[in-house]
């Protein structure tokens, strides 16, 4: 078969570099600017240890955002992620019951609960035709209630060290920088898996297709219902992982994941995802989560109190969506 040349293949390497530079997601530039801003306030953050610490703190949100993006590109939301994180922390403390030997099967049970929650979300949205916003809002409340009921109102016990290792432990010794946080290791593995699934497999392309045009997807032979369910299950799995990291970092706290679902949606939007589906980038969404965490850090370094940080976050989300709408209007 003769090689058929197309204009894309005729472009020189330099042209493609320039085009690539122009197509780079703006969030990466925002992220670099934020990191520079942090560096000017406190240069230790940009040293390897300081930067790894920033990543460690950002890891739960970055992992949760990766899962959230799978749902967002199909045109849905998953609001239950944050309370699933909380339930994971509460569940871990109760299941482990202060005995380190229980940690491993407890983690398996927590993943089982997560997958069940994801399946439920997916089935409710796909087969009962409940809009995902409502279905997962209901799930958010149900999980929060279940968590409180399980603890009997107040959390008991503590989390064993072998469980908390994932969130706050360090891999030692480590070449060059002496020690490396486990949380960042988990983050790298999850991000790599998410980017692979999203960019390299049929799954990613089909999720985008479903979000872009569900009718055409069905007519092209895609099982729209099955794909939506898979997206919610992936989102729930990342919520359990985020919960394990957050529990390790912060200890037992029944509100460990509160607000995380909205931050994850914000992060995905900052990364250029379109809330009606069909458009999104995994790398940029994860970078969006890091940028959000970097922003909080910067506002903290600048001495802004927490309520003001929340307000700034809200304004930034509105600004990001308005900017995306402005850009898509201009290209049309």
């Amino acid at each position: 078969m003769a090689q058929i040349s197309t204009p894309a293949q005729e472009r020189s390497l330099w042209d493609r570099f320039i085009i690539g530079l122009r197509n780079i997601a703006p969030i990466y530039i925002v992220l670099i600017l934020l990191l520079i801003g942090i560096g000017t306030q406190n240069p230790t953050f940009l040293e390897p240890a300081g930067f790894l610490n920033l990543l460690r703190r950002a890891a739960p949100l970055m992992v949760l955002t990766a899962g959230q993006l799978f749902v967002i590109v199909t045109g849905g939301f998953d609001l239950s992620g944050g309370s699933l994180m909380s339930l994971t922390v509460i569940g871990a403390s109760l299941l482990i019951n202060n005995d380190p030997a229980n940690t491993w099967w407890a983690i398996l049970v927590l993943f089982g609960i997560g997958i069940l929650v994801g399946l439920l979300n997916g089935v409710i949205v796909s087969y009962l035709n409940v809009p995902s916003l409502i279905a997962t809002l209901g799930m958010l409340l149900a999980l929060r209630g279940a968590g409180l009921y399980w603890t009997g109102g107040a959390p008991r016990g503590y989390l064993t060290d072998n469980f908390r290792m994932f969130g706050r432990g360090w891999l030692e010794p480590f070449p060059v920088i002496e020690r490396f946080p486990y949380a960042v290791l988990v983050l790298i593995v999850v991000s790599a898996a998410a980017i692979y699934l999203f960019n390299q497999t049929n799954l990613g392309r089909q999720l985008l297709a479903v979000g872009d045009n569900p009718r055409a997807s069905r007519l092209a032979g895609i099982s729209v219902e099955k794909l939506r369910i898979i997206a919610f299950v992936l989102s729930a799995i990342t919520a359990v992982i985020a919960g394990i990291l957050q529990g390790g970092f912060g200890g037992v706290n029944p509100d460990a994941g509160e607000g995380y679902e909205l931050q994850a949606i914000s992060a995905a939007v900052l990364g250029g995802a379109v809330l009606l589906g069909g458009r999104g980038s995994m790398g940029a969404a994860i970078a969006g989560a890091l940028a959000l965490e970097a922003l909080f850090t910067l506002l903290n370094l600048l001495g802004l109190p927490k309520p003001l940080r929340d307000a700034v976050q809200g304004l930034i989300i509105i600004g990001a969506v308005a900017y995306a709408a402005y850009r898509s209007r201009r290209t049309r």
């Binding site: 197309t6 390299q200 049929n202 872009d212 055409a216 007519l219 092209a220 032979g221 895609i222």
Partner: protein
Amino acid sequence: MANAEEPILEVRSITKRFPGVVALDNVSAQFYPGKVHAVVGENGAGKSTLMKILVGAYIPDEGEILFQGQPIHFSHPREAQEAGISIIYQEFNLLPERTVAQNIFLGREPTRYGLIDQRQLRRRTRDVLKQVGAEDMISPDAEVKSLSIAEQQLVEIAKALSFDSKVLIMDEPTAALATHEVEILTRLIHKLIEQGMAVIFISHRFTEVFDIADTITVLKDGQYVATAPATEVTPSKIITMMVGRELDQYFPRLARPEEIGEVMVQVVNGSNNKLHDINLTLRAGEIVGVAGLQGSGRTELAQALFGVAPFTSGQLTLKGQDSHVKSPNAAIHARMGFVTEDRKAEGIFPNQPLNDNILVSVRALQLVLGRIKRNGTASKPHLVSELVKQVDVRTPSLTQEVQYLSGGNQQKVVLAKWLASTCDIFIFDEPTRGIDVDAKASIHEMIRELTQAGAAVLMISSELPEVIGMSDRIVVMWDGRISGELPAGASEEDIMILATGHREQEAEAAVETAV
């Protein structure tokens, strides 16, 4: 009482252009009080455009409209309605969650001390319902969604009467009605014209046109053909006026007998809630054209074959094997492809790049966790660029988002999608709608190449020249049934006789006289 000699509404030399098409070309017509005036013509003849111009939904590019002898310039249907010209579309303009009274007096509710006067609202609603003879049938407080289609139509008519309309326009008023409901409507229309109203209606159903109308106007391709009193013409004469144009387009040659091969699709007594007793055979190497007016079940036939809304009874055989195509996925597994009528809603993924658009169906047959090839499949890594070349998509790159391509190029992308999944049974629904002339000819050429390569093609089209020019056989649909089959080169007249159910009515008449 108005003078029956003077038209109440008149259009003079109306021309209306849309991008790429002249919808109405220098059309004139007069409408008289106390008369029922039917406007007939094929799909795309300009009937609906004319009606929309009468009520100000469209502004004509040229020509004038006279109402009661005065030139008028409506800029919104509301203005026409207040002046006394009401229109009832096929899709009613009613709010389903509101009551009958709220709908009829929407936006002009009687008030008292600044609040809605419920008692007066009900009383006035009962008055207009009485005028349409529905006061015992429909309560002013009934929610519109609880009413039948026929009752909703009566509410629409009552609404028109509440505006003191002098002209009532109805688009396909009988399309959704049962026989006895048509009789009720006919009686009501007669009552309205006795009161001096002018009624204008569009219909594809010749029985009703001849039962109800005093005058018939025929449009063809946006041009005025003739106006005649209903008593002086016959259905076949009207059909002759509706059709009959030169075949000026070039079409690829028809299939040679030796090119037609085995039976690929066979339907025996296929039925579902929209289709009745479909019997259809489709062979390798042939194009079977499907003609029929809007609502005749053409698209439903395609959807039944492709598993979107499958047959619920009867037998479907694909390549000699009993098949139950219950979903599009099953149809694609059986190597069927469906180029849909509504490209934007059902064919393309506008925000996705060209290569993903073309590969979507191939990938739907693969494992969901299977690894993708950007521009092809594992066995054919350059599939996309080959197909882009084969169907001649004009695109700057293989990753161009499809929303930025022209309509013709988008249609070629949809075709390439089915070529990629190696289909050998193709269903085309309006393959060249909204596509410029050049792209049209090349799509016709490609469809013929498919059959020459051994595929079977079912091609649905509203454009009779396209059906006649392309098809090796023509199947005509009417009322959810196949009303007849015609050989290649059948005339437009033959098709229209079957498409309007005219032959059926002749047969019924013959039975009646025999009894």
